[in-house]
């Protein structure tokens, strides 16, 4: 069901290309009580890495995910995705960047009801301008990769939680993005399904996908090759680039 390579999972090599660069990013929410969600965050994600961004709720990790995913812009600092400087891009270009270079997995799955698993995955390529037939063909591959080859025609609302999250992961992967951002992917799952999803993520990474997982779960983070701990909008530790825990 999954493709394995001989490469060590999560291998981190300083010579490989940086897919995601976060440079001194701050994010402030203005209001009656201004909040500084991020206070100067810097780190890189290289091609083929599997990174956990771990932190308690309110640490700023969701804000970081939105900024890394170009769904939000930083108040200061720069984000570089697949070589594109986000600050230089218009809103439309950011959409194009997300359509082709970034895959998202959400805690709530966000599958469209009334659509089959196959069409939910095919919608991952909806805004690339690819034809429906091509999108479905790639969706078949992606669903097979996540182990749902026998569930393609099922209505997405009739699948179990674990299966739904697999569909969502297949949707994030279908276009072969440079980076997949997963926001608490196991947050809505029981421990058994949760373990299976973590295993799937590790397998996909082993097969070459670059994945960043946002989680509050220390145990999951500890199992990954690299964990970036974040607290109060600052990086507390990064097991990948030598910052001591």
């Amino acid at each position: 069901m999954t493709v394995r390579t001989t490469r060590r999972p999560g291998a981190w090599d300083t010579t490989t290309e940086v897919v995601l660069g976060v440079q001194d990013v701050t994010k402030e929410y203005l209001g009656t009580l201004p909040v500084r969600a991020l206070r100067g965050v810097t780190f890189d994600v290289r091609r083929g890495e599997l990174v956990a961004v771990v932190g308690p709720s309110g640490s700023g990790k969701s804000t970081l995910l939105h900024i890394m995913g170009t769904l939000d812009r930083p108040s200061a600092g720069e984000v570089v995705v697949a070589g594109h400087q986000v600050s230089q891009l218009s809103d439309r270009s950011l959409s194009a960047l997300r359509a082709r270079h970034i895959g998202f997995v959400f805690q709530q799955f966000f599958l469209l009801s009334g659509y089959t698993a196959l069409d939910n995955v095919a919608d991952g390529l909806l805004y690339t301008g690819m034809s429906l037939a091509d999108r479905r063909r790639l969706a078949v591959d992606a669903l097979t990769r996540v182990g749902l080859g026998d569930r393609m025609g099922h209505d997405s609302t009739k699948l179990s939680g674990g299966e739904r999250q697999r569909v969502a992961i297949a949707r994030a992967l279908v276009g072969g993005p440079d980076i997949v951002l997963a926001d608490e992917p196991t947050g809505n799952l029981d421990s058994k399904s949760s373990a299976a999803i973590v295993e799937l993520i590790e397998e996909l990474n082993a097969a070459g996908s670059t994945i960043v997982v946002i989680t509050h779960n220390q145990q999951i983070a500890a199992g990954f090759p690299r964990a970036v701990a974040i607290r109060d909008g600052l990086i507390e530790s990064d097991t990948g680039n030598g910052v001591s825990p």
Partner: protein
């Protein structure tokens, strides 16, 4: 190494598919909001269709009857005359150039009953009219059963009954032996006429020949009305001189009418109602539009996470706006097409009941669908803009 970004794209077919998501997943709500538009459009198409069908029916009727029939009647009452026209009036009128045909009618002061046993107070509102042999020709009337007068029967105690008169006297077919009590003597019924579209007075009359009236009813045959067929090109001219020709001494005692005017006046009154109902249809359409706007605003709020997801998948603000606008247009189009169909159906049924041909003007069909789309676009615009303006992070956080 950076390559230029190819823009996000959404094919038209995919746009239609995404616009249909809301309709597919919320069928009842979609059906109800489309129903609002449907009722409005059906009302407008139905009103236009019915008005057009009835108008075309009227035109066909006028065409058939001719608008060149004029009636000349003696006014009666103080200052209006004696109720009689000068005896030579018929001949005078016939001398007017564009007059093609005239026929003289003289009201007989007699009552008509089914038998001599019916009390004389129960005349049933029927009249007795002495007529010329060319009455049917001039009025374009037809015989339903039996025959009209000829030179012989017009001088014997025979009668031809109008349709209402025949019904009230209990005669539905002519056997040649039926007798009725007319002016205190027995008359043989030789014919029953079809209904007159323009001269309903004859429907309630028992007709007798002029010679018969003179010989059997002691009637002097002074004309009470003269029916005139004029050259269609000169109808107005003829109308202008009829009164003076009929009674040069007292033209004001002569009343000249064109019976088709009454039909046209009725049609004009119908037009006023058409405008009123069109207005009501427009109000219904507006309410339907407000319904769609309402449903779309709710839909945008409920589907925040879908909006967030689509932005994450690479949809631009414009893609999101167009999706929701497309959904509103689709709702309106469904309502519009359904409304045109319903309006057409109502028109067909009503026209069939009235015995008219169905005529729904193409402009009503095209206009109905166009109006629905315009309403849909207006109703969908605000929700679409709202959906597009929603920030992706806010939309994703909503759950």
């Amino acid at each position: 190494m950076t390559t230029a970004l190819a823009p996000s794209r959404l094919h038209a077919a995919d746009l239609a598919r995404t616009a249909a998501v809301g309709l597919r997943t919320r069928k009842l709500r979609a059906a109800l909001s489309a129903l609002g538009i449907m009722i409005g459009i059906a009302a407008m198409v139905g009103v236009l269709g019915l008005s057009e069908s009835s108008k075309s029916e009227l035109l066909a009727q006028l065409d058939n009857l001719g608008t060149n029939l004029l009636t000349v009647q003696a006014g009666s009452g103080i200052g209006l005359g004696s109720g009689e026209l000068p005896e030579e009036a018929g001949a005078m009128i016939a001398r007017i150039g564009p007059v093609e045909q005239t026929t003289t009618v003289s009201a007989v002061d007699a009552n008509v009953f089914k038998s001599d046993l019916v009390p004389s107070s129960q005349s049933g509102g029927l009249t007795v009219q002495a007529v010329d042999l060319n009455l049917l020709d001039t009025l374009a009337g037809t015989v339903a059963d039996g025959v009209f007068f000829n030179d012989v029967t017009a001088s014997y105690p025979t009668t031809v009954l109008g349709s209402v008169a025949a019904e009230r006297l209990g005669i539905d077919e002519v056997t040649g032996t039926q007798l009725i009590w007319l002016g205190d003597q027995w008359f043989t019924v030789i014919g029953i006429l079809d209904e007159f579209a323009l001269n309903p007075d004859f429907d309630r009359a028992a007709l007798v020949g002029m010679a018969t009236a003179d010989a059997y009813l002691d009637h002097d045959n002074v004309p009470t009305s003269i029916l005139v067929r004029a050259d269609p090109a000169f109808v107005d001219d003829v109308m202008g001189v009829l009164a003076a020709t009929t009674n040069p001494q007292n033209p004001e005692e002569v009343q000249v009418d064109r019976p088709t005017d009454a039909l046209e006046a009725r049609e004009a009154a119908d037009d006023a109602f058409t405008a009123l109902f069109l207005g009501l249809g427009a109000v219904a359409l507006l309410v339907g539009g407000v319904g769609i706007a309402n449903v779309m605003v709710i839909s945008v709020l409920e589907r925040r996470s879908e909006i967030g997801l689509r932005r994450a998948l690479g949809a631009t603000r414009r893609h999101v706006a167009v999706q929701f606008l497309g959904e509103a247009l689709l709702l309106a189009a469904v309502g519009g097409i359904g409304g045109v169909g319903l309006g057409y159906l109502v028109t067909t049924i009503y026209a069939n009941v009235r015995g008219w041909g169905t005529l729904v003007p193409p402009i009503a069909i095209a206009g109905g669908i166009a109006a629905a789309l315009v309403i849909g676009a207006v109703a969908g615009l605000y929700p679409a803009i709202r959906a597009a303006r929603m920030s992706p992070t806010e939309a994703l956080r909503s759950q």
